[in-house]
Symmetry: C2
Subunit: 194 residues, 2 copies
């Protein structure tokens, strides 16, 4: 084990995302998944885009205050997709998914993931920002993706690690894993402090 300081501690990942679980596992952390439902993902619409993801991650973490035993570390995260004027959440339905992908086609957008890591003694909240460039997507490519991959659990209606990421994304600037939903390099460095 590389993060020796976590020995004897109980790491809890409060996220249902299989991508986040895979990435946290990938840096060799033993953890369990515990997800509370019913945490509202609302925020002040006046809030600047860059603050929203960290705000939501911190809000999720505060819902777990009761669970933080002396030796526990809770990790929460929230990923948002921002176009010039808008935040794209998870698509409501097929029409909404197609609308989002049309909106991302041929342009760049930002993906911001906020992360909160919290023990009874210490809290670290931070965010990472990546820029993603999509080629001009053909209508049949959007239809094919939505019908075959059903990206309804994904902010912005796409997963960079899926077919649409292979054929549609020409370039990124920043962390690829952040676009997947978890800036794992930063998480690793922050976990060293616990």
């Amino acid at each position: 084990m590389i993060l020796e300081n976590l020995k004897g501690k109980q790491v809890i990942l409060a996220s249902q995302s299989p991508r986040r679980q895979e990435l946290l596992k990938g840096i060799g952390v033993d953890f369990k998944v515990l997800v509370k439902n019913g945490i509202e993902e609302d925020f002040d619409p006046e809030m600047h885009f860059s603050e929203v993801a960290t705000y939501l991650a911190r809000k999720k973490a505060s819902a777990y205050n009761q669970e933080i035993a002396d030796n526990a570390i809770i990790i929460t995260a929230d990923t948002i997709v921002c176009t010039d004027n808008d935040i794209l959440n998870k698509p409501a339905d097929r029409v909404d998914a197609v609308r989002m992908l049309r909106c991302l086609s041929g342009k760049q957008h930002k993906v911001i993931t906020g992360v909160c890591i919290k023990s009874s003694m210490y809290e670290s909240c931070f965010s990472a920002e990546s820029i993603v460039f999509f080629k001009d997507l053909e209508s049949y490519e959007i239809d094919y993706y939505v019908d075959n991959f059903k990206p309804y659990d994904k902010a912005g209606a796409y997963g960079i690690q899926e077919w649409i990421g292979y054929i549609g994304i020409t370039r990124i600037e920043g962390s690829y894993f952040n676009v997947m939903g978890f800036p794992i390099q930063m998480v690793y460095e922050e976990l060293k402090k616990f």
Copy 2:
């Protein structure tokens, strides 16, 4: 199937890399793997770094001229890792792998993949360039990676999709899949032309 134009054609991927096979599969192409050994990966040391990968991909493709039946399409690729002054190939041994990772630590470098796609009628050769930024790697992180992941089949002695990529890479500019060894978005667009 999305690349309808490939129907009835025999796509051959001339690469042993499991990453390239996974990426080509990921865009829905049916293909078989056929690898000829003994193709020398040498090049004129006067050649500019940016030309080397395409040169090597084209050289590999020319070794398959006999295999290109009327309906066949052959795909070859070569990935190189370039520091300011040097091209890093696959490491010869443990000492060489550690030396390469020390050389990449705390700096940015370029990853260039050249690809050649060739039928009896048409040839398309191109390359993609990504910039990769490593944090300052600790000695124990380099040792842990080399001992556990044995990156002897990888140019530059690392795989971005492995532990060292998770904990060590702070940023990329360009295509992530190109750093994995195959600029799949460009390959997809080029395959449309066959």
